[in-house]
Amino acid sequence: MSSTLAPVGGVNAGLTEDWIIRTQDLTKEFKGFFAVREVDLRVRRGTIHALIGPNGAGKTTCFNLITKFLQPSKGRILYNGRDITRDDPASVARAGLVRSFQISAVFPHMTVLENIRVALQRPLGTAFHFWRSDHSLKVLDGRARELAAAVGIEEFSETPAVELSYGRKRALEIATTLALDPEMLLLDEPMAGMGREDIDRIAGLIRQVAKGRTVLMVEHNLAVVADLSDTITVLARGQILAEGDYHKVSGDPQVIEAYMGTAHA
């Protein structure tokens, strides 16, 4: 199992750069409203880093800026020391920075196997070959099944994604993301709307896939990320309020105030 989940070429051992992601002065302004304001975020390579904050704190905006789904108004984003501020989202994904979405991102009317294959097929270089049979994609089925098994949904290989339970959809999403063998995963509220046992399952999954990779996850709830993440950054009103491990952050009076006492809920 761990061999399937471990990165093939994910960690770039030659780089001395300790920060995989660095933002400088990152700002997003929507007509006078600052959703994200002068954020200097640093994500250390090989860690699980959580970005938390109350509703409207700018977490998802921050996330969309880093993955280039939004253009920043100001500031720079460095990935492995390279400036990616002006890159388009598909290029960022190809460079190894792969994101998930708040609402589960699967292709509903494709089977589990087909979902994973969409991610696997790009390196074949035949994505534009409209004259070729899709049977040529069958060479990927073995790897797709491995990935499905790795997240525990192998018995649903031929099931359309729309018929899966919510937790399994999220598992499928992780399998599809892993198919790209990303160097860094960005998970947007991976546990949102889940029951307790699903949360434990997904948390276990995140811990597994984080071996040898970097994970940046957005969460609403501090308790959920408490023993999962190495570093927690708390955002409020578009700015960084506090940063550190769980004990440091959860004891911060500003954080407690921002959460109106819900930090320990």
Binding site: R94, F107, H109, V118, F128, F130, S133, L137, L180
Partner: protein
């Protein structure tokens, strides 16, 4: 496999039972609708300007064959090539827009093509290009023979439909499917989705051009009707009526609409009203269209 053989046998025998010109007209519109459906049904893009490719290719083919005296296959190739080039230009301008804005941009561009055709000398304005010689295909097959012409048109139709079927069931088709279902996710998996949509648009425009060029051979005429926005609307109706999620649905839609137009032509303006009523019925009651509803029925029976 059985039903494909049955359809093929029916298509081969049809001209001995039904007026061949009518059949060929239906086949041309069928191919046009299949090409259109590659965008609407399989890419999720509603183009409201497809008449431009269909009609302008007809002019190009007609002009090349009548004025330059080229053989039919070269005339058709010229029409398809011009339609593909137009598709590239339309696509580059429209593809960044979504939903209704995409449809509006394609409509606006198609109207520009229409007014150009109205003014340009080579189209002969209201008269159109008339009495286009059919010539001999590859210099051998005499297309003035009604039956030869029919089988040539049938072959072109079959090739066109096969290309769409192949594209839908190809690695490219898988990516299109993914884009249609969840575009942001496809982007996050590293696909530059605009390029895929553009490729689908050009392919669709080329095949619409193939349909228009073939229609020129059949009627020996290229006219303003074919570039009119009304034709763009008709192909939407054919596709929805037949079933937009299926490869052959639009063909069924094209046959129904062509039949109504040909055999109910006596009642004049009522044809438009009947089409309107059909459109309302399909949109409210039979969302999946003729073939789509039939397939859903079979699926329900199979599950029981």
């Amino acid at each position: 496999m059985m039903w494909i053989a049955a359809i093929a046998a029916l298509a081969l025998a049809a001209p001995y039972a039904v007026y061949p010109i009518f059949l060929m007209k239906a086949l041309c519109f069928g191919l046009f609708a299949v090409a259109f459906n590659l965008l609407l049904g399989y890419t999720g893009l509603l183009s409201f300007g497809h008449a431009a490719f269909f009609g302008f290719a007809a002019y190009v083919t007609g002009h090349a064959m009548k004025e330059w005296g080229v053989t039919p296959e070269l005339g058709i190739l010229a029409g398809v090539a011009v339609a593909a080039a137009m598709g590239l230009v339309f696509g580059l301008l429209a593809i960044r827009r979504l939903g209704i804005y995409f449809a509006m941009v394609t409509l606006a561009l198609a109207q520009m093509v229409y007014f150009y055709c109205l003014q340009a000398p080579f189209t002969h304005g209201e008269d159109g290009i008339q009495a286009i010689p059919r010539g001999k295909l590859f210099g051998v097959l005499p297309l003035d023979d009604m039956y030869v012409l029919y089988y040539v048109v049938l072959a072109i139709f079959a090739i066109g439909v096969w290309i769409v079927w192949r594209a839908v069931h190809s690695p490219f088709g898988q990516v299109l499917h993914a884009i249609r279902e969840n575009e942001p996710r496809a982007v996050s998996l590293g696909y530059k989705t605009e390029r895929f949509k553009l490729a689908a648009f050009v392919l669709s425009a080329s095949l619409a051009g193939l349909a228009g060029a073939t229609k020129t051979l059949v009627f020996q005429l290229a006219s303003l009707t074919d570039v009119n926005w009304h034709t763009s609307g008709e192909v939407v109706l054919m596709t929805l009526l037949g079933g937009m999620g299926t490869v052959l649905g639009p063909v069924a839609g094209a046959f129904v609409i062509t039949t109504i137009e040909n055999y109910l032509a006596d009642i004049g303006a009522w044809v438009t009203i009947i089409q309107g009523i059909i459109f309302v019925l399909v949109v409210t009651l039979f969302r999946r269209g003729i073939i789509g509803e039939a397939l859903a029925f079979v699926e329900r029976r199979r599950r029981q």
